[in-house]
Subunit: 355 residues, 2 copies
């Protein structure tokens, strides 16, 4: 059941990946007009290629994430402080965004679109998704009073449905009927792939557990959709500036968390206590994944992100067979088949005249 | 695990239902031209309605079949001879077909289409599917050397794929891309719905077991597709005449089986020994199901039959919750969701321009 442990760790990834995806843009509905096609000037031509590259990058980075987390542990325990690692991820993302910005400034000079300085109006909503994720992660401690960890993994697939529904309601973007069917299949397929003999526990989840799982799925879906709306609200704005403002709140939030939770340990043992080469690799991977998520939000959308991370979940399991002797179940094969058909239908569905 | 027992019994149903579906028509490809639309004259108008009614009838009859089989047993054993019950089903189907024919003759007189007498050319291929099913049922005894009963239930879902492939190859009818995707989902969904903690045994099936399972699926699929080809080869021929010739071979084959296997028991205890009211109900249900299968073959096709019996499998499980305290698993819900989406996609797929 090593794989389940891998999945368990993803709840902390969710935080590190996304509590940084804060965003800007007061009028959400105005973001509708600014889709991928209007993503500005010269980039417009190569948008399909860009979309494919960032999606592939997100898939590969996410699928290696869980594996690195397992490797970074010794005997099932973290030897390093998870919060300092989160902080390092956020800080690295800020640095990478700034480095990319410096290159842009050197080549093209400072313009309205790529200057780092910003208005309060633009930056004020960037911390909101971070706050949403914080509330979700607080709830996470309470939901375990009602459901066990394997059941929680199953319930987390509600995120797929909530993202689809909120994407439709908030961004007012339409999916074709076939794409909706594909999205239901994606949720069913991912859940099937994760089935194990104890999964039926989830059916005994009390009503409080269901309510909390649904609220958490909505918070997570809302944060994702909100990030997309705010990034797309200013399509011509340089993505690295947007990323910097997204990530800087992650740095601040994690600094507060270190002071509250890990101050003594950091002071006595040192900030980078217990870090190994794998820990550093993991931090680099997380930072790049985080940037890939932002890129997917700007050049594609939340639906692409959900497909990308779902396929990554399956890839992780397949790679785990070789690395950790993980046993692939019949349920995994069936779930993977359903997810594959879902990916196919999502792309075929686009071609339908009704879209 | 009462439900699994119910499913186990369906292998014998397959025999009683289908080894009677023998058929006629030397040139299979010529059957292509004679689809539902050409099913002749006055019936053409109401063909859609007829198709819906026979499909619904097949679904309801099949779903109550497994339940009646469980009821007809006492303490998990049959108190009656299964072979005499099969014979009774075949005989009843013949009688019902003849009764329907007498009514037609009284109303419309004897015509070329509804006369019972036939040419050797027409009737000569009717026993072929019966022989195919016999070979399949012989193989069934040998496959258990390589796979256990629950694994066999899982492998039986290969029938869905083999029917789709042979339907395409032999009848040369096209399914749209979305309908193919739906068909793969139907197979994956049905298998998912049947998953239980011991299902993973199927992955340890040796190569001989897989080969036999595939051969059995091909035999079963071929018999079904062959029946459809032969029934549709003469679209204007009265269905009750076709049924009579299909079923009479079932009567003969089962009479031989009684003589070979159950002669002593029948002679000492009597033909109807151990029959109860439920046994009689079960026989009536099987006879009507068999007729419904023929009707679906004539007015719809094998694809509709596969969807119909798959949905019936799910309905059986739901009804079993109330009747036998059968426990529905999470896998069942996920599988049912996938099957439902598959049914939806199959009907939406028809509307696509490429079809």
């Amino acid at each position: 059941m090593e794989y389940r442990k891998v999945k368990d760790q993803e709840s902390y990834d969710d935080l590190s990946l996304k509590d940084v995806e804060s965003l800007s843009g007061r009028s959400l509905s105005s973001a509708n007009a600014t889709g991928l096609s209007s993503a500005g000037g010269a980039k417009g031509k190569s948008s399909w290629k860009l979309k494919s590259v960032v999606t592939l990058a997100l898939t590969l980075l996410t699928s290696s994430q869980a594996i690195l987390i397992v490797w970074s542990k010794r005997a099932g325990k973290y030897e390093y402080s998870v919060i300092t690692a989160n902080f390092s991820v956020e800080a690295l993302k800020c640095l990478l965004s700034l480095a990319a910005l410096f290159r842009t400034w050197n080549h093209h000079g400072v313009t309205d679109d790529n200057r780092l300085t910003t208005s309060f109006d633009e930056v004020s909503v960037y911390p909101i998704p971070a706050i949403l994720y914080m509330v979700k992660n607080l709830l996470q401690y309470y939901i375990f009073a009602y459901v066990d960890a394997p059941a929680y993994q199953i319930l987390k697939n509600l995120n797929i449905i909530s993202t689809g529904v909120l994407y439709r309601i908030i961004l007012k973007k339409k999916l074709s009927e076939i794409q909706w069917a594909a999205f239901i299949l994606l949720c069913a397929g991912c859940t099937t792939a994760q089935l194990n003999p104890s999964s039926d526990h989830v059916l005994q989840t009390p009503i409080q557990g269901w309510m909390m799982a649904i609220v958490m799925a909505l918070l997570s879906g809302f944060a994702g959709v909100y990030t997309e709306a705010i990034i797309k609200k200013r399509p011509s704005r340089n993505i690295n500036v947007q990323n910097f403002w997204l990530y800087i709140f992650g740095v601040i939030f994690n600094l507060v968390a270190i002071c509250v939770q890990d101050y003594d340990a950091v002071m006595t043992k040192g900030f980078f206590h217990g870090y190994s080469f794998i820990t550093v690799l993991m931090i680099v991977n997380h930072a790049l994944s985080g940037i890939a998520v932002s890129m997917v939000m700007k050049y594609a959308d939340n639906i692409v992100k959900v497909y990308s991370t779902s396929v990554a979940m399956l890839l992780t399991a397949v790679v785990s067979v070789f690395l950790f002797n993980f046993h692939l179940s019949l349920a995994f094969f069936l779930g993977s088949t359903v997810v594959s058909v879902s990916v196919y239908l999502h792309s075929v569905g686009k071609l339908q005249p009704q879209k």
